[in-house]
Structures are given as C-alpha cells and as structure tokens.
Chain length 206, copies 2
C-alpha cells in the first residue's frame, strides 16, 4: 500500500502531549498534531524493552481511531537502573530517593516508538537505548535541584535538557532519545515506511 | 582571593555572541551578559586541543578589560576529523564538501573554555571532547540539508541541536559540548573556582 506522505496538509499525529516530544518534532520541522492518549503508564511487562514497546504501541492505537486516516507516532520513555524502572516522582521524598539511586552511576534510558499507517497497521516499532553517566550528587545538590521544581513530571526525576544537565557527565548513544524521542531512528523509520518521501523536508510553496 | 560569586547583581560575562552558548547558560539559569570578542578564529596552533584552549583564553582576555570586575567565560568549539579542523562553510560547495567528509564516520568535537577571575587571572582552562557518529549521507540528503540553510555559520556545517540531528547516529561524551559549551564541566569549574557558591542556584528574593 502507498499512502500520502506527511506534509503541512497531512500532518503526523503524535500520540503524546509531552512538551519535550513536541519540541523535538518542531526542531526536525516535521508537520504534526499532538493528541493525548489515555494509556495508563503503569502497565507491566516482564522486561523494560517489552514495556517500552508495548506502551508505545498502546498509545498509538489509542489515538488512531480519531486520527482521520493519518500516520500516527506513539512513544514511551523509561529510565532503568539495576533492572529497576524509575517512574515519575510522587513527591519530594520520592524524587530525593531516585536522585540518590542515580548518583555516581550509569543508568539506561529506553524510548520505545511505534508508527501506524493511516489504516492503523503497525508499520514500525523499535526501542532505542542510551546510557547516561551521572556524577556523585551531594545532599546539598539534590536539595537544591528539587527546590528548582524540575524533577517533577520527569521519569527518573531529572531533565537532561534542563538544569539537570549539570549532573550528566557523559552519555553514550542518542541524546534526543533521553529527551523523549530518538530523532535519528524516528526519521529513518518515517522514510523506510513511506511516511516521508525525503528528508530534510524541503518547503514547497503552499 | 575571594571574589563575589555570580548572581543576578553580579552576572557572569560570556565572551561570545553564539546564540547556542547563550541558550545553554539560560538553560542552566546562570545570570550572564554576552559580550562579543574580536578574536580572529583562524588562529593556528600545532594541535587542535591547544588551538581550542588558546582561542578560549584569547576571547576571555579580549573581553575582560570592559567587564567591570566580573567573572569572564571564554569558549571556542572545533570540529576535527582525521586531524583536520573543519571551520564554518564559506558557501554551498564548501558545506557539501564538509558534509561528505563527515558522512559515515565518527568525528570529534572539542570545546575549550576558560574562566577569568574579576581581576583577570586565569582561574580555569579545559578542553572537553565528544565523539559524534554520523550516518552515511546520500547526495539528496546533503542537497536538502544545505537547502534548509542550517549549515551556514556552523563549524563542520551541521547543527546537532537543529535539523542536523537526523544525521547523528550516536555520541559518546557530553552533548552540550557539541552544541558549544560543556555544561557539566563548566558548572564544576565555576564551583571549584568560587564563581558559584552552590548549584543549582536557588533564587533568593531580590
């Protein structure tokens, strides 16, 4: 099957309201519309790769019926350390505990993403992993970081694209994957599946 | 010597007008003022590490006399592949040539940064290196990327924080170093030299 590619008149549907994911698609100049999914992020799976895949697919499928026959992209980001998945913090004590767990160690960030065709078939699913090395954090640093308010709403209680960058010694892999969407892999999947006919998108007169 | 730390009333002087460096300091909530230096970036040195160091120091020293007794940060970013330094492209043909050189290979991005005390003494100088793996680029991709206009004004003819992210398969090291300022190392240097008394900066009532 051949479907109309993504364009300003046929925007990609992003099954997410994450401001980080929206900013990444804007950075890449991909025309899109964000639609929140109602998928519960506390689903379970026997390992984190399967969990990230499952949530990415579930989110896209949830949003597809209202997508009006357009391509749909779903994604889910997981922070994992010593085989334990760190979610978003419930409160200050929870954020403090997670930051202490990450301190002085390397953890892994997994983003699963899925692409559905305009007819709702799964065109692509993939999980990308990035290793992130965090410096030793003092009690004062953790306290000050929590005071900024940034840890809340973030998996693992930090934002690599924010003030949290002060604790990131180095990464191995994709940076945008840690932010929420592995841009290199997503563009490749859009091209391979026919959702894009070329990249970068060259703007045509509209 | 003990000098007043950086604050909203005693802003860091950034010896650069790079919008990327400004954005990174904003991301880190460091109060600063950007002052352009008149240092010629085509200086020479026998190796790229010394060149990045020298330019970072030269830029800070150039700006210091007008800094009004404040801390001064200088920085310079160099893209290097096979011991050749890639500057900013002069024109389309030059950009095409650089992108072909980077295609399918891993190159190194070096950012040198220097910190001067309010009295103009060198408090810190350091060069941080990040390895960047670029995908195989087709002629069509290079042509389209140049058409976006993004390569111009960028060392190595690409912007990792822009559309150029589509070609970055992975990195090893600091991401912000590739953008223009290695945030983890800079914050550490500011703390070690007494330019900051704690980080993250906790906003006090002013």
């Amino acid at each position: 099957m051949h479907y109309a590619p993504i364009s300003a008149h046929n925007r990609l549907v992003l099954a997410s309201q994450s401001p980080r994911r929206k900013r990444l698609l804007e950075q890449m100049r991909i025309p899109f519309e964000a639609v929140p999914s109602r998928v519960h992020e506390h689903a379970e799976a026997d390992n984190s790769i399967r969990l990230a895949k499952k949530l990415a697919i579930d989110k896209a499928i949830d949003v597809w019926p209202g997508s009006g026959g357009r391509w749909v992209l779903g994604a889910d980001t997981i922070v994992e350390i010593d085989e334990i998945v760190l979610g978003k913090p419930n409160d200050e004590a929870h954020a403090r505990q997670m930051l202490q767990t990450l301190s002085g160690k390397t953890h892994r960030v997994l983003t699963g993403f899925s692409l559905l065709t305009p007819e709702g078939a799964l065109a692509h699913v993939e999980v990308v992993a990035t290793d992130v090395k965090i410096k030793e954090l003092s009690q004062d640093e953790i306290k000050r970081y929590i005071q900024t308010g940034e840890p809340f709403g973030k998996a693992g209680s930090y934002a690599i694209q924010g003030i949290g960058a002060f604790m990131v010694e180095s990464i191995t892999g994709s940076y945008t994957n840690v932010v929420g969407l592995p841009v290199y892999a997503v563009i490749k999947a859009l091209l391979d599946s026919g959702a894009l006919e070329g990249y970068p998108i060259v703007s045509s007169p509209t």
